[in-house]
């Protein structure tokens, strides 16, 4: 019979955190969502817009004579604004992806009481949030960052001139910055709602309203028009993102509001969502 040491064995091992502990959560989440037919269809749809933009880009840079004949276009200059337009047109796809992928991410874990299992592992709440955010983020990178980045590379390939490069060199930086901001705002908002709500459909509805789509957007515009005060627009997260995004690309969509004000609102939203998540994400739900 084996004789085991029954005495205390002091543990001198490493108790530091692994910096990428969140990665398996993101990876597993993406792999669980990716094979779904509706998700594949949505990804295809998401790439249609940039594909059309690619054709337009080719037309503007290489076939201006033809374009002029067909559309009466004078062959408008291609600059950072063109790439911002490619991002901006992805708005509805972003909405669909966020609500489809994000609504149940934490709500399902709470339903299955899986948080107990997560937090019996050496995971911090931040690891868990980053992992879940990584799932939403992956799909936003797939539908916003990647196509626009390819569009930029395509542009440089067909117009490898210093003039063109000089006009669009900062696009990758602006694009990355905007995508990160989009992931942080849209992703954390859906995760916070998922940590509070139970049913995916209500979580999705709440996100659409809070993000500032649909009727809420109209109400904000109406209030702005009636009061003549531009600050009402700050209440729409979607408008704030658009405002800041355009600013990153060297444009201003709202001359009455400084983009920094919109950025400040977005940072407040991120901080509020993170606070909600830290409060709600616990291994054991204490009901008083």
């Amino acid at each position: 019979m084996p004789i085991h040491d029954q005495g205390y064995r002091h543990w001198d091992g490493e108790i530091r955190q692994h910096p990428l502990r969140w990665w398996p959560i993101a990876q597993r989440g993406v792999m669980a969502v990716l094979p779904q037919r509706k998700v594949i269809l949505l990804i295809v749809l998401a790439w249609l817009g940039p594909l059309v933009k690619g054709v337009t880009l080719y037309g503007k840079l290489r076939a201006t004579d033809l374009l002029t004949q067909v559309l009466g276009d004078k062959g408008a200059e291609v600059g950072a604004k063109f790439f911002w337009g490619a991002i901006d047109q992805q708005g509805f796809i972003v909405l669909l992806f966020v609500v489809l992928v994000g609504s149940n991410l934490i709500a399902a874990d709470r339903r299955f009481k899986a948080l107990q299992l997560y937090f019996s592992k050496p995971l911090t709440p931040l690891d868990y949030i980053l992992g879940k955010l990584g799932i939403v983020g992956t799909f936003l990178v797939l539908t916003v960052w990647m196509p626009v980045m390819l569009l930029w590379i395509f542009g440089l390939m067909i117009e490898p001139t210093a003039e063109f490069f000089g006009a669009v060199w900062f696009v990758p930086f602006s694009l990355t910055l905007y995508t990160l901001l989009l992931i942080a705002v849209a992703g954390l908002l859906i995760l916070a709602l998922s940590a509070v709500g139970q049913k995916g459909v209500f979580i999705a509805g709440a996100w659409i309203i809070l993000f500032g789509y649909g009727p809420f957007q109209l109400v904000i515009l109406l209030l702005r028009e009636l009061s003549g005060q531009a600050f009402w627009s700050l209440l729409s997260v979607e408008r704030d993102l658009e405002h800041v995004g355009a600013w990153f690309f060297g444009n201003a969509t709202d001359p009455e509001l400084h983009p920094v004000a919109s950025l400040a609102v977005l940072l407040v939203v991120v901080a509020a969502c993170y606070a909600v998540l830290r409060r709600r994400i616990r291994p054991v739900e204490v009901v008083l």
């Binding site: 085991h4 040491d5 029954q6 005495g7 205390y8 002091h10 543990w11 091992g13 490493e14 108790i15 530091r16 955190q17 692994h18 502990r21 398996p24 959560i25 990876q27 597993r28 669980a32 299955f112 009481k113 899986a114 948080l115 107990q116 299992l117 997560y118 937090f119 019996s120 592992k121 050496p122 995971l123 911090t124 291994p283 054991v284 204490v286 008083l288």
Partner: protein, 310 residues
């Protein structure tokens, strides 16, 4: 003196105005320890505090000499089997284990290897590639047990691990827990069934009203229980006749006929009574259909302990 693997120091947890656990001080060493308590005694709260699932309002839990609430990395050495069904229904048993092992920091091949070992150890290998949604209650308990031990932790917390298990699974799981204890792991098992714990360990912690009522060897507790009158219900074909035959026995304090076919015997020396009972029954000639000891349960045990403490 060697430091304990797990130590609770003045551990207290409030839920608003309600005290869940109050100033618990205890030490747990290697081997299997049973945490026993009635429903609502604070057993689950204490268990979750010890396993780091809840933060204490006061006091602290030391695991391997380190404060559990300050070192998240210590969870590498904890295996936790929760009482509720905390499972991903759409995953297969193997996928779930691999996923949870990846969260421990193992790479994919090592996670696969460890998952297979855990599945073999819990006798779940045949069902490993079926979705968890189709698992029976016993299999669900086993997969929870498998995920708790798959990463080879030093300390295991098993919250009511036998709930819903069939006798074979229960036996296999008890064997496994005993083996883990023999291997030198610290295994805490919570239960409200005394004999269940008794089959795995002789070391127990008894909790009531959020406080440790007794700790130590289960035999001492047994002896204490046996000093108190026991009640035995006997189902037989003629309760009145059997009552007349049993009453003269010196171990019998009294007999109550509950129904024509049922009586309750009170005895202050249960071991001696059970030793002499077969002879008494043969002499009486009354056919017996069944026995049930009425107060050899946890509730009586707690009542006796509280009585003794008083």
């Amino acid at each position: 003196m060697n430091a304990p693997v797990l130590e609770c120091q003045s551990l207290t947890r409030w839920y608003g105005q309600v005290i869940g656990v109050s100033t618990v001080d205890c030490q747990v060493g290697p081997g299997v320890t049973g945490l026993l308590g009635l429903n609502g005694a604070g057993k689950s709260t204490l268990f979750k505090l010890m396993a780091g699932q809840l933060r204490p309002s006061l006091g602290r839990v030391l695991l391997l000499g380190h404060d559990l609430s300050h070192h998240r990395g210590l969870f590498r050495w904890i295996g936790f089997c929760p009482e509720p069904d905390a499972l991903y229904e759409s995953m297969t048993g193997r996928e779930m284990l691999v996923y949870l092992l990846r969260l421990q920091g193992f790479d994919a091949p090592e996670s696969e290897r460890r998952a297979q070992l855990a599945l073999d150890r819990t006798h779940l290998a045949d069902a490993a590639d079926r979705p968890v949604a189709g698992y029976s209650k016993g299999m669900r308990q086993k997969i929870k047990l498998a995920q708790a031990l798959a990463h080879d932790p030093k300390v295991l917390f098993l919250d009511e691990p036998f709930n819903g298990m069939d006798p074979v699974s229960r036996y296999e799981s008890m064997e496994l827990i005993r083996a883990l204890g023999r291997e030198g792991k610290t295994v805490m098992v919570s239960s409200h069934i005394l004999h269940e714990v008794e089959e795995m360990t002789s070391i127990i912690l008894l909790i009531q009203n959020g406080q440790i009522l007794a700790e130590g060897n289960i035999r001492e507790i047994r002896d204490l229980v046996e000093r108190h009158p026991h009640q035995v219900r006997i189902e037989c074909e003629d309760a009145r006749r059997l009552a007349v035959d049993l009453l003269p026995m010196e171990e019998v304090l009294g007999v109550k006929v509950e129904a024509p076919l049922r009586l309750v015997v009170e005895t202050d020396r249960p071991r001696r009574f059970f030793g002499r009972l077969p002879h008494a029954l043969l002499s009486s000639g009354v056919k017996v259909r069944g026995f049930q000891t009425l107060d050899d349960d946890l509730k009586s045990l707690f009542e006796y302990l509280v009585e003794d403490a008083g």
